[in-house]
Symmetry: C2
Subunit: 358 residues, 2 copies
Amino acid sequence: MRPKKSTKVIAPRTKLKDARRSVTMAEIARLCGTTKMTVSRVFAGRPGVSEALREKVLKQATRLKYEVNQQASSFSSNRVNFIGLVTPFEGLLGSRYFQRVVEGLNRGLGNHPHDLVLFDMLSPNFESGDKLERVWRQRKVDGFVILAPHTTDQFIRPLAESGVPLVVVGEVDPGHGVASITADDEQGVRMAIEHLAGYGHKLIAYVGGPEMLSSAQRRLASYRETMENVGLEVKESMVMPGNYTMRSGREAGAKLFRAKRRPTAVFAANDDMALGVMQAAMAEGLRVPEDVSVVGFDDLAEAAEYWPALTTVHQPIRRIGLVASNLLLAQIVSDFQAPQPPPLDCNLVVRDSTAPLE
Amino acid sequence: MRPKKSTKVIAPRTKLKDARRSVTMAEIARLCGTTKMTVSRVFAGRPGVSEALREKVLKQATRLKYEVNQQASSFSSNRVNFIGLVTPFEGLLGSRYFQRVVEGLNRGLGNHPHDLVLFDMLSPNFESGDKLERVWRQRKVDGFVILAPHTTDQFIRPLAESGVPLVVVGEVDPGHGVASITADDEQGVRMAIEHLAGYGHKLIAYVGGPEMLSSAQRRLASYRETMENVGLEVKESMVMPGNYTMRSGREAGAKLFRAKRRPTAVFAANDDMALGVMQAAMAEGLRVPEDVSVVGFDDLAEAAEYWPALTTVHQPIRRIGLVASNLLLAQIVSDFQAPQPPPLDCNLVVRDSTAPLE
DNA sequence: TTTCATAAAGATACCGGTAACATCATGGGC
DNA sequence: GCCCATGATGTTACCGGTATCTTTATGAAA
């Protein structure tokens, strides 16, 4: 039973332009007198190839500078070896924090073939809220690492519900089963406040971060709790809002230092704001640390380089990145949801911006 | 002539796990009573489909939340819609400079389906020098944007010679036909020096960047030239080395301000170092701008936020990113090497760190 | 009415790998 | 010597699109 159409002879597709042409497994196989299936086994590191043949294949491959075509490989195995790195808010992309996380992620990726794809939610071409889900549907990535979301972020839930491999760096509402990794902010803040209290400071001001960030919420809560635990009173006029920028720190500092009763120590919920507070102190003619002690949070590169060098809470950001990629790879490669890791310990780095109260 | 083997019946591959299963063009086609070829035409925006059918296809696609499988599409069309973003030296990834470039790139990418893949050459898994060429061979990207390389960078040449689409942000040795885009550093420095000279400063110090960076070389050359043009002498003891970090700026500033004849103005080759110079001034008890004027270069976010706000040369970084992506897309999409664009104009932003000499 | 250019839609092969299964050679255990 | 387990290797059928060519429908020109 022949098809009703006459037989056709269709010319093979025109060849790719030379720049894009490349060696294929079939070619290597031909040179080695075998088939591409065997070559495929060699490169995938699967068993079932004799040592002699394997070496022959590798030799030819090296000679021809062969590299496995990831495109074709992905297509066949349905894995693309890209991980989406999502930066959902202003200022993240260009920060040392970002840099450290990337370092950690790359370390965790290790020998895996995955690379990081940048998705900056602030870019104009990302305005549509379902961008990430579309990217997933398009098979551009195998999963996402989402940096420090707002607790209320709406775009995480639909992703998670679609079964997209996902790790959040920061804290998310527990319960909907999203993997996440965070530092132990509470503990970090506690150490900072206890350090200041131990130096005899009584009036310890607080400069906070954006309210919608979970990290900011946790740090503030821990400040209040620790103050109470060490027997100090929290004066509401000493609790200043901020938004994690140097400017907001400087403005908060200016208000604090102009108050009729000024604090002898200030804890800022991140380093940038702490630097701003120090600037405000200088502008008001106060010396750090003689007149006022300042402590930050994060221990980014700037903190150590500043003058005076900032006493701050060191967050193991690189390690967080490393753990994040491990959690994600577990989901992608082994389809295995690792148990939620505990928050990672912070520690206090005492530099030159704090001193005992005289 | 039948093959010598008996006919075989091989079971179809097991289906993908549900999470990864998805609607295909064939499915949409079936629902619309047509073939996947037509559906393909619709999504590629190619002509040859009646309006009625096109709408029908789009309607079904929307209903099923269909997205074209980029993996398969890339495979077939031999374009992967990823662009490699290469950061070849320390500190770039976490800088505002990086952030701005990315903003510009994303803007330039516009509606193109390309996304950015991060290649941080400092990551341990990138130690091998031919990483980029391998990535290219693996068909993971369609081309590269390389940020501010050393002029001597060896890894650019082999890439360019292999015909890899490539744009360098910064200056490269002309002649080997690598597309590049840069700001007019010379002009920027000229404006800064003329500004200070116009304020009556005679002893204008210079704090430079790493010698192997082309931007640093050009800025220094322009400093010398402009000083001569405005009739001022360059004292070699007033030309300090630096490496674009705040710390190096502070150290350079400390030396300058402790010299027996100290400068009344300092130009630093980037903002971070300028901030360091201001810190050094304060540490030595000098006021900015009353005792010493300071000018930076780049106009990153910190410059405006600092106190006192920094007078600096504004570099159109975002625009540079935008031009870079346009240049690259031209090569990728149209196989067209656009003519080398001229350096983009800088302009001077006068803030609070400079004042006339009394 | 016939011819032919043009637009719409279909048919086929193919991109370069991988999954699943088939086959074959080898050698040990009986 | 025969059977079967085992490991090496080959065969086939895809993955889900796109390039290219063919066929069919439509309508204007002759």
